[in-house]
Symmetry: C2
Subunit: 232 residues, 2 copies
DNA sequence: CAGAATATTATGTGCAGACAAAATACATAT
DNA sequence: ATATGTATTTTGTCTGCACATAATATTCTG
């Protein structure tokens, strides 16, 4: 019998230890909550909290009646924090700079219209800017804002505050989608980023929504060599 | 007074609704758990579960005694699921293929040695393979395995099961780090991926650990045009 | 007035008991 | 044999209560 584990963290750690020690191998059914609670000398709710957390992290698979088993293929979840660009740069101790290139109403390309589920010929606010780190180009922000869904967006001067930052605190979104990819720099992007045409650029496309109304679509093109890091 | 909300999900949704409706603006202190429980006609534990979940998602900031407030900069968290490559391909309804290119003991380059915190001249198992989707090259897997930390790795024939898949179910890790970047294809990679030299490739570098012992480092180079998608 | 001791307050977590919901296994009826 | 209904098992979650813990506010003391 086990020494009593009366915190959900202790139970969490012990279960994880057994999995790593292969006492419980991938695919194995582990004892039910009631039995584990008895073994650990704690309440079932405590075991539940521990196992639920492990399931959220993809370590366990749980199904009512079927029980709890060790995940066969522990799905790794990488959590990417997407901060405001200014914060991202300042947190590395670099000085932040910002250059607005364009701010005008226009009808976007078909591709953007589709991504935003827009009626044809809808005019959007097009904002284009470069964010600088230590006076070197860091990332190009190419953004389309749905002025109908963001009150006041028309009257903002995005040379003072970046659209990136303004939107975050003025246009809360309910959900969004995000895509990462690699593209070769065209002449325009390479010039803005002080790079060579053809250089491989890391890009992030993001569209955010307020329920079923689109707020904004942005394409961020990072300077060559950019890496996005996180942990598992 | 509110209609009774007696499930944590209902409380969760109502709090989110109020934040989104700007009843509670970013930075605002919201009522404490006891008061909310009274208002919603449920137990404090139920409110706690809802608020805790929202805090985990970055929507709320909570501190003992100081109370709960709406996050000023709702840090967007994009959760990337990193599945087994075979599953990733099969889930799209494509047929999976796999070609082992190399499996031998060798001393890795300095760069890899550093990433893995290895003593100089340590021999590792080097596995190189291409994963195919519908008979087209999908991704190059270039992997180094610390044979000392993974018992049995030496006697596995990675032409039968991919290292990617075998390791996941035979070498559980405690933590890891992961980096995404864009690189231009060199002659070797472009040939393996049926691409042109200079094409922009999406790359993922991943190193996993079992406590303080390194298990494996892998570089995945995706075919041109690859996109990694998720939601916010 | 400064600094230490103490009280207060909000969240964090534990416990026991209860019932709900889902999924399976088993029994029954046609 | 097949379809349907019922029992059982396991996780999911709610309740009400208690105490722990962290952070702040207040009081006491020199």
């Amino acid at each position: 019998m086990q020494e009593t584990l009366n915190s959900w963290q202790a139970v969490h750690d012990e279960v994880l230890r057994r999995i790593h020690a292969r006492d419980w191998a991938p695919g194995d059914l582990i004892p039910n909550e009631t039995d584990l609670a008895a073994e650990f000398g704690c309440a079932r709710a405590t075991v539940n909290r521990a196992l639920r957390t492990l399931a959220e992290n993809g370590v366990l698979d749980r199904r009512r009646k079927a029980g709890t088993r060790v995940a066969l293929h522990p799905i790794s979840k990488a959590i990417l924090d997407i901060p405001v660009i200014r914060h991202e740069i300042e947190q590395r101790g670099q000085t932040y700079g910002y250059v607005l290139l364009q701010q005008k109403l226009a009808v976007p390309q078909m591709q953007i219209q589709l991504a935003m589920h827009l009626a044809a010929n809808t005019k959007l606010l097009h904002v284009k800017a470069v964010h600088m780190a230590d006076n070197a180009p860091y990332v190009i922000e190419d953004r389309w804002i749905n002025q109908n869904s963001v009150s006041g967006a028309n009257s903002i001067d995005f040379s003072i505050i970046s659209a990136n930052e303004w939107l975050l605190s003025h246009a809360p979104y309910t959900h969004g989608d995000i895509t990462f990819s690699a593209v070769a720099a065209d002449a325009h992007k390479s010039e803005l980023l002080a790079a060579q045409p053809g250089d491989a650029l890391f890009e992030m496309h993001r569209t955010t929504w307020d329920h079923d109304i689109v707020i904004t679509t942005v394409c961020l093109s990072y300077a060559p060599g950019h890496k996005m890091k996180t942990t598992l």
